[in-house]
Each structure stands twice: as structure tokens, then as C-alpha cells.
């Protein structure tokens, strides 16, 4: 119990630091959101009144505390460009990015884990070289390029789906999943390569351990040794990279959304940055950091679940 509490407190403090960094980095960014909204020809009175309206005339620490207080109430401020609450803007885009993330993580694990184990099994001179070669290629290919290729092959040549169409979950669940499958694959491919590499090395590492020899000496066949003993031990280091993979899935989805013209967080963020819509950018950065932190918290819990040796210290 103490372990979870500790992890939770750690997450809480990280969140505070994230809000501090986010808030103050937006303070020192050059450029004035008021001027960008009113134009450089605006007169002094107009500028002053908009400043007061947006609360920009107060001292920085006061604004920070007010800002945090508003976040706690679910109020992330109002987008300068859309004149809509940031919270609502993110909320409408969230399902797209979220399903993209979940599906690509599922694909990564569902493909990466079996392939990782198999590649450890067939790690002889030729097999090992082949696996390293293929995974190296997929590690090097950026996901947006994979995305473009997938659109070419499945959308333009094979015409299995119409590129650029997004169907929301509430309209038609089956079509909705279909429309995010390809972008998810594009995000998952390099991560599958990472999982394969880590898992392969980890399995090979575990296979040398004494407990494996003992398991064989009990009369278990190699399938049982793998299933009952090796996999669970080998997965532990993979969970560590899973945290990094999830962050990279998030970053990948920002770019891949552009390629597939999906109305997710990524496109909103890019347009917000382009328009210097600082409250919106701020809100999304917070959202993304919170998501990453929360996922890492879940992974810590998962760790404890798999490895009984993890102590409280």
C-alpha cells in the first residue's frame, strides 16, 4: 500500500513541477497574445482593456496561482483564436488521439511480444542477423513516412478505405476503428521493432540464468520453461521501455494525425502553435504531460504486480 502512496505522491509533485515549467516558459516566450489578436495597429486603450479582460495585468505569481486554481476547476482558459474554452476544444479532439494511442499500443504489444520471443528462439547466426536487420530498418523509418506508404498502398492502390476520412465512435464504431487502424499501424511499427529488440535480448539474458537450468532439470520441455518461467522474468525490462514507448506513441500520433488528416489533438496543437494561441497550447501541453505521468504511474503499479521483489525503499 505504501508503495502506491509513494508513487502517487511522486506523481503529484511532478505534476506541480510540470505546471510551473509550463506556466513560466509561456511567460518568457516572446510575442504578445493581445497584440496577435488585435493586430499591431490597435490603440493603447483597446490593448489595456483586453489585457485586463484576459487577466494579463496582474503580477506573475498571482496569475500562476489563479491559473492552477482554474485548472483544478476544469477551466483551462479560453482559446484566443477560437474564442471557445480550451477544455471543450481538447475534449472534442480527445477520442481521436486516445483511440489512436490505445490501438497502436495494443498492436505494438500484440505483435511485438510474440515476435520478440520467437526471435530469441531463432537467434542463430542467420536468424539473428535477419531480425537485427529488419528491426533496424523499422527503427530508422519515421512513422509519418510509413503512414504515407500505407495510404499509398491501402488507400490509393488497393482502395480498401478512403484516405482522410474519419468516422467518430458515436456514428459507427466499426467504421471508426477502421479509420484509425492504419494510422495506428504507422505509429506502432517502429515501436514493435523496439519491443522485439528489448524482449529478444531480455529473453536471451534470462535463458542463461540458473533457474532456467533448474526448470529443465525438473523435466519441463522448452515450451513450458518459456511459458512458466522465462517470459514473466523477461517482460520486466520491457515494461520499463513501455513507458518510453507510450510517450513516443503520443508524440507519433501528433505527426501521424497530420498525414491521415485526423481531427485529433495533434492537429489542434500544431494549428495552435502556428497561431500563437498560447492558452490552447498551454492547455494541451498540460494534458499531454498529465497523460504521460498517469501512464507512468500505471506502469509502476504494473511493475509491482509482476515483480514481488520490489520493495518500498
Amino acid at each position: 500500500m505504501y508503495y502506491y502512496l509513494r508513487k502517487f505522491i511522486a506523481m503529484f509533485f511532478t505534476i506541480i513541477i510540470v505546471t510551473l515549467i509550463t506556466f513560466f516558459s509561456f511567460e518568457i516566450i516572446p510575442g504578445d497574445p493581445v497584440l496577435s489578436k488585435l493586430g499591431i495597429d490597435a490603440d493603447e486603450a483597446q490593448i489595456a482593456s483586453l489585457r485586463a479582460e484576459l487577466g494579463l495585468d496582474m503580477p506573475i505569481p498571482v496569475r500562476y496561482i489563479k491559473w492552477v486554481g482554474n485548472i483544478l476547476k476544469g477551466d483551462l482558459g479560453e482559446s484566443v483564436r477560437f474564442s471557445l474554452p480550451v477544455y471543450d476544444l481538447i475534449k472534442t479532439r480527445l477520442p481521436v488521439t486516445f483511440s489512436l494511442m490505445i490501438i497502436s499500443i495494443l498492436i505494438t504489444l500484440a505483435v511485438g511480444i510474440p515476435l520478440g520471443i520467437l526471435s530469441a528462439k531463432y537467434n542463430n547466426r542467420i536468424g539473428g542477423f535477419f531480425i537485427n536487420f529488419i528491426t533496424q530498418i523499422f527503427l530508422a523509418i519515421p512513422s509519418f513516412w510509413v503512414g504515407i506508404m500505407l495510404i499509398m498502398i491501402f488507400g490509393v492502390i488497393l482502395k480498401w478505405f478512403s484516405p482522410g476520412g474519419y468516422v467518430s465512435w458515436s456514428e459507427n464504431p466499426a467504421e471508426s476503428i477502421k479509420s484509425v487502424i492504419l494510422p495506428s499501424v504507422a505509429i506502432a511499427l517502429p515501436n514493435i521493432a523496439i519491443v522485439i529488440r528489448y524482449l529478444k535480448n531480455s529473453v536471451l539474458e534470462q535463458m542463461k540464468k540458473d533457474y532456467v537450468r533448474m526448470a529443465y532439470s525438473k523435466g519441463l520441455n522448452s515450451f513450458r520453461v518459456m511459458k512458466n518461467h522465462v517470459i514473466r522474468n523477461a517482460v520486466i525490462p520491457v515494461i520499463t521501455v513501455l513507458g518510453m514507448i507510450i510517450s513516443s506513441v503520443l508524440a507519433g500520433s501528433l505527426i501521424v494525425e497530420q498525414v491521415f488528416t485526423l481531427p485529433g489533438i495533434g492537429r489542434l496543437l500544431i494549428s495552435a502553435i502556428g497561431n500563437r494561441d498560447l492558452p490552447l497550447v498551454e492547455g494541451m501541453i498540460l494534458y499531454i504531460s498529465f497523460t504521460v505521468l498517469f501512464i507512468n504511474f500505471i506502469i509502476d503499479i504494473l511493475y509491482k504486480f509482476i515483480d514481488p521483489r520490489i520493495k518500498y525503499d
Binding site: K209, D210, Y211, R213, M214, A215, Y216, S217, K218, G219, L220, N221, S222, R224, N228, H229, R232, N233, I306, D307, P308, R309
Partner: protein, 325 residues
């Protein structure tokens, strides 16, 4: 007594880059039913490799050149993997040196014993669990119900080794191979484990191949002793013959290096140098380079294992049938 296991002319080599290193050369010995046979030698002399070869557990890069391993009338060398898994843990089981790494850190210890039973016996899980509990009591563990669910890191070294032993004896095997079973344990715990092995040997009649680098320990435990050096059996006889009248200069050195009351205050003897294996086709006595009495002949050909005194075998050109070799 009948022979439970006979090893005949076992030769094992490892491939390293372009050359082969021979780690076991012409090893032949028998284990009788109910016997405790000692296998002594320093690290790297091939004793572990010899023992692993018995139920086909050699690492993948080891090559068995020739030889027979006859267990219960069958040559195990001819067995396929499935037949081997039926023997392992069931008829031949292992106790390894390092109890803290021999157990899977992520599996409750009780299940690690249970596993050995359920793959060999067709019994329900409840029955198997009951027999695990009684096995744990048998090997001297207390609070067994509670300990069943514990993970290896929650147990002491001695408790872990008792778990390993419980798994090893769970199917009442004909042969237990104990590879340095007490080396990693405290001296106070060692005695208890050795006592337990002797009890299990007496009660179930399981033969034990007891492997150790410690000649004094092997002498306490075993009926007969094999001394190995650089992959060769260099001396083989009843335990008392080996200890009281060793014929090989290496065995002699080992005995001289055992600390005893009479040697108190004096510098302890040690055999200079380290084990070096012969290259393939190299012709000399494997011990020649460390031997204090070596002569020209020792560097020219490999000595044969010969029965110098009835029941006492030695691989040395210079050994004579008198007391001091």
C-alpha cells in the same frame, strides 16, 4: 549391488572460435544403487559438465564426441528430448550450487516444487499440493503452509536450498545429482543440508552423485570417490583408500591442503598454478605442468587409468603400489 548408472568413455568438447577445448576425456564410472559417489576436483575440471551430460542438460555449444550413458539398462544418449524430459526430475534430479539463483524469483516456492510433481504424475492439484507440504516438512522446513506462498527473496539461503532439495526428491528419483549443494551456504547450515541428504539417501535408497571441490567434505559423505583433473579421471577408489593412501600427486596435494589440527600454525600446502586443459591431440599428462615430481615421460604421452592396487585406479606413470605413491 547393481549398477544404476554406467558412464562409458565419455568425451565432451567445446568449440571456441577455431579450436576445440576438450573438457571431458575418457570418463568412465558406475554408480551403484543406493550409493553416494563423490566427484572431486577444482573449478573447471569438468565435474559439472560430466554431471550435466547425464540427463542431457549440456549447454548448446558442448559437443559429445562419443561415449555411453547407461541408466537403468538404457543408453540415455539415444533418447530424444521427450524421453529425456520424462527422466529429468522424475528418475534423475538435480540440486544446484546456488540456491538463490536456482529458484525463479517471480514464482512462489511451493509452486516450484509443485511443478516438478504435476509434470510427472497424473494427480489432482490438491493432492499434489498436499504432497508438496509434506515434502517441505520432510526437508526440515517449518510453517510450511505459510512458506508455500512465499517468494524466494523472502527465504534464507538454507531454506531455499531445502526447497530445491524438496523439488529434487519430489518424484522419488533413483539418482540425485548434487552439484556443490552446500558451497554457497554458511558452515552452520551446511551440516544440516548434508545430514538431510544422507537421510534421504538412507530412507528412499536414492543414489547420490555428490560433486564438490572439498575433499574432506566428500570423504564424510561418500562411499567411493572419483578425483577429476582437467577433464580426466585421475584417481578412483573407496573413500578411505583415497584419503589414507592417495596414489596421484594431485590427490596427495589436495589432502595436504586440508586444514587439520596437526597443521595448526603451519603454512597450508597449496598446489601451485591453475588447471589448464590439453589442446586437442596434445600428448602429455594433464597434470604434468603443475606436478612436482614430473619426469620426461610425463610430457610425452597421456597416462592410462590403471588399476594399480585392486579397486584403486590411478592415471599416473610414476605412481607405485606402495603407501606414499
Amino acid at each position: 549391488m547393481n549398477n544404476l548408472l554406467s558412464i562409458e568413455n565419455l568425451n565432451i568438447k567445446f568449440k571456441s572460435k577455431k579450436t576445440y577445448t576438450k573438457v571431458v576425456t575418457d570418463v568412465s564410472f558406475d554408480i551403484k544403487k543406493g550409493e553416494i559417489l563423490g566427484l572431486v576436483g577444482e573449478s573447471g575440471c569438468g565435474k559439472t559438465i560430466t554431471s550435466l551430460s547425464i540427463p542431457g542438460l549440456l549447454p548448446k555449444d558442448a559437443i559429445v564426441e562419443n561415449g555411453k550413458i547407461i541408466f537403468d539398462g538404457h543408453n540415455i544418449m539415444d533418447f530424444n528430448e521427450k524421453e529425456l524430459t520424462e527422466i529429468r526430475g522424475n528418475r534423475i534430479s538435480f540440486i544446484f550450487q546456488e540456491p538463490s539463483t536456482s529458484l525463479n524469483p517471480l514464482m512462489p516456492v511451493g509452486n516450484q516444487i509443485l511443478e516438478n510433481i504435476v509434470i510427472h504424475k497424473k494427480i489432482s492439484k490438491e493432492e499434489a499440493k498436499k504432497s508438496v507440504i509434506s515434502l517441505m516438512k520432510k526437508v526440515g522446513l517449518s510453517d510450511t503452509e505459510n512458506m508455500y506462498k512465499k517468494y524466494p527473496h523472502e527465504l534464507s539461503g538454507g531454506q531455499k536450498q531445502r526447497i530445491v532439495i524438496a523439488a529434487a526428491v519430489s518424484c522419488n528419483p533413483a539418482l540425485i545429482i548434487a552439484d556443490e549443494p552446500t558451497t554457497a551456504l554458511d558452515v552452520t547450515i551446511q551440516a544440516g543440508i548434508l545430514e538431510l541428504l544422507k537421510e534421504l539417501n538412507a530412507e528412499y535408497g536414492s543414489s547420490i552423485l555428490f560433486i564438490s571441490h572439498d575433499l574432506a567434505l566428500v570423504n564424510q559423505m561418500c562411499d567411493r570417490i572419483i578425483v577429476m583433473y582437467a577433464g580426466f579421471i585421475i584417481e578412483f577408489s573407496e573413500a578411505e583408500n583415497i584419503i589414507s593412501s592417495p596414489l596421484h600427486p594431485y590427490t596427495n596435494g589436495l589432502i595436504k591442503s586440508i586444514p587439520t589440527e596437526s597443521k595448526k600454525g603451519k603454512k597450508l600446502y597449496s598446489v601451485e598454478g591453475r588447471v589448464s586443459h590439453l589442446r586437442e591431440n596434445e600428448k602429455k599428462c594433464p597434470f604434468a605442468s603443475r606436478c612436482t615430481i614430473a619426469q620426461d615421460i610425463c610430457f610425452k604421452s597421456v597416462p592410462e587409468l590403471r588399476e594399480l592396487i585392486p579397486g584403486h585406479f590411478v592415471r599416473c606413470f610414476l605412481a607405485k603400489g606402495d603407501k606414499n605413491g
